[in-house]
């Protein structure tokens, strides 16, 4: 890499007088980067700092936000209020349990589908791969809306399926035989189960495709050798494939964790807004605190900071994993 660049630089040196070249080479890349730095700095990094700053003030009024009125500094007051609120513990528990369940299920299902795609014949793999791709391509919003329609309490397909079960069976297993009008989204546990279904449906394709890409890079001779030595399929996966793909899995787990920690659109859609407090998770809690009347921007910012801090720790692992790979 270094030698290649040096070679081209000397080629450029031959083409233009040395002094002019130095002046240009030094400045041009920075000029090219300037617009990006402005955008990233202004729209991502500055707001990130701002959200931390806002979390130290009491901001309950849009005129304060606009800068017409003074911001009263309350130090760690917002954080103290959140941590003392028993509801925050519910939200945190919801978030962590939901993320853990979704990451686990997504990774397992995605890996199984990746392995499956690798074993299917060419035509079949293309067909299944394309279908899986469609689930991935569906916007989170419309995906959630369709699932909500499937679980509609009068004409939804799921309600119909449960009604189609033999009454006796349905009665013994679920304690009811008539499902028309059943509120699928009413109990928090069932709500989270359906939300998990929606999120896993939407996110397993990425895992499957990534695992498949990883599997294609595993040298066939290695697998062959393991098989000749008498290893079964299970053994080959855990002793050969998995260790080779460990970096891929590391990144996939971290990315999934980050995504599942801040699920918003699907939850907002399934819950029909920000009123369903028992099913709140951190991102929707922060949003509802800040924007549902009465607005509490400072408090909402403090929750956002807590969410970011948790994700920052996870991101740390991600970057370390990437750097370690570059080194090896």
């Amino acid at each position: 890499m270094t030698t290649l660049t040096e070679a081209t630089e000397s080629a450029a040196a031959r083409a233009t007088p040395a002094r002019r070249r130095r002046a240009r080479v030094d400045r041009l890349p920075y000029l090219l980067l300037l617009p990006s730095l402005l955008v990233i700095g202004g729209l991502l990094l500055w707001p990130l700092g701002q959200v931390v700053a806002m979390s130290f003030y009491r901001l309950n009024n849009v005129r304060q936000v606009r800068g017409d009125r003074k911001w009263p500094w309350i130090g760690l007051g917002n954080y103290a209020e959140i941590l003392a609120d028993p509801f925050f513990r519910t939200v945190l528990r919801n978030t962590v349990l939901f993320a853990a369940a979704n990451v686990t299920l997504t990774i397992i299902l995605g890996t199984l589908v990746g392995l499956l795609l690798n074993r299917l014949g060419r035509r079949m793999a293309t067909f299944v791969g394309s279908c899986v791709m469609l689930a991935w391509a569906t916007p989170a919003l419309t995906g959630a809306i369709v699932w909500k329609w499937l679980f509609d309490d009068t004409s939804g397909l799921v309600t119909w399926l449960f009604n189609a079960l033999p009454d006796a069976l349905s009665q013994t297993v679920f304690g009811r035989s008539d499902w028309t009008g059943y509120g699928w989204f009413n109990s928090p546990l069932l709500f989270f189960a359906i939300l998990t279904l929606v999120v896993v449906w939407h996110s397993f394709p990425f895992i499957a495709v990534s695992v498949l890409a990883g599997l294609k890079s595993v040298p066939g001779e290695l697998l062959e050798a393991a098989r000749v030595d008498g290893a079964g399929r299970w053994r080959v996966f855990w002793s050969v494939t998995f260790p080779l793909l460990r970096p891929v899995f590391g990144i996939l787990v971290v990315l999934s964790t980050i995504w599942d920690f801040k699920v918003f659109t699907q939850q907002f859609t399934l819950a029909g807004g920000t009123q369903d407090r028992p099913t709140f998770m951190l991102s929707i809690y922060s949003y509802a605190t800040a924007f549902s009347p009465p607005p509490k921007y400072g408090l909402g910012a403090a929750i956002a900071v807590i969410l970011t801090a948790i994700l920052l720790v996870i991101t740390g692992f991600y970057v370390r994993a990437l750097i370690r790979q570059e080194d090896s």
Partner: protein, 276 residues
């Protein structure tokens, strides 16, 4: 026998993945009596475009049609794509073609900012948009989405620029071409496919986004498609035929574009994870 089991599993996965999409399109083509019938059928017995007609011409909200939302979304996504592609191309060229101090630092920063939970930025960006006087305008969304799509766009384009053989540029330089000429006549045409792929990614980001559009836009006339969807979908007695027709219209452009670029997305997201 074993083959059969594997294929059956494959079909099952395909069914699970594709069924909701299929059901969305199928419902959108059914007349209401079939949608709300006691025995649902997989395909419409008497397919109709009535729901699409009503969505596209009817006034969902007094004085505003679905076509207005569509135009808003196209404007926002279009402007985002153009500006973000241009800025990303400049940065990608800098990173792929030059060695300079802070280059590694910039690359690490690109990775890190992609991990910022955008949901956490709603409140400070709301403040910024208020202060810039952009509240309730489409540019507020364009600005926001450029910020969101840029880091990944640079990351992705970097690979495309690096893949253009340097010898071509050197040869042009020896022939006396200026830097601007090299950029326009050699680099740009060769990077064009990558630019298209990157643009599609930015388009999808802007087209699908809900939270910020929900927060920054107050006027119903300025709603983008996703906000409009939640607005008339949240009512009681949901008219599922209309909702599914609208969902299909929102989904199809993304799906078409997505299929075109999905390979790039994977390689961009797990960049460097698989060697060789």
């Amino acid at each position: 026998m074993k083959r059969l089991g594997v294929n059956a599993a494959g079909l099952l996965v395909a069914l699970f993945a594709v069924f909701p999409v299929f059901w969305m399109i199928s419902t959108s083509l059914k007349p209401n009596r079939e949608i709300f019938s006691a025995t649902p059928r997989p395909v419409p017995l008497q397919p109709t475009l009535d729901h699409y007609r009503e969505i596209l011409t009817g006034n969902l909200i007094p004085g505003v049609t679905f076509a207005d939302f569509f135009v808003n979304s196209v404007l926002v996504a279009g402007a985002t794509v153009l500006i973000s592609a241009l800025i990303a191309l400049l940065a990608a060229t800098a990173v792929a073609r030059f060695r300079f101090r802070f280059r590694t630092l910039f690359l690490i920063m690109l990775l890190v900012v992609q991990m910022i939970p955008l949901e956490a930025l709603v409140i400070p960006l709301f403040l910024m948009i208020q202060r810039l006087g952009l509240y309730n305008t489409l540019p507020s969304l364009i600005l926001t989405y450029i910020g969101f799509s840029l880091p990944f766009a640079i990351w992705m384009l970097r690979g495309f620029v690096a893949a253009v053989p340097k010898e071509l540029e050197e040869a042009a330089a020896i022939d006396g071409a200026s830097r601007a000429q090299i950029f326009r006549r050699i680099l740009l045409p060769l990077v064009a496919p990558g630019l298209v792929a990157t643009s599609i990614f930015s388009f999808i980001t802007a087209w699908n986004e809900l939270i910020f559009a929900l927060t920054f836009i107050n006027d119903q006339q300025r709603y983008t498609l996703p906000v409009a969807m939640t607005f008339f979908f949240g009512r009681d007695d949901t008219e599922w035929g209309l909702v599914m027709a609208a969902s299909t219209l929102l989904t199809l452009p993304v799906m078409i574009f997505f299929v075109l670029v999905q390979r790039r997305m994977v390689s961009g997201l797990v960049a460097g994870a698989v060697k060789g």
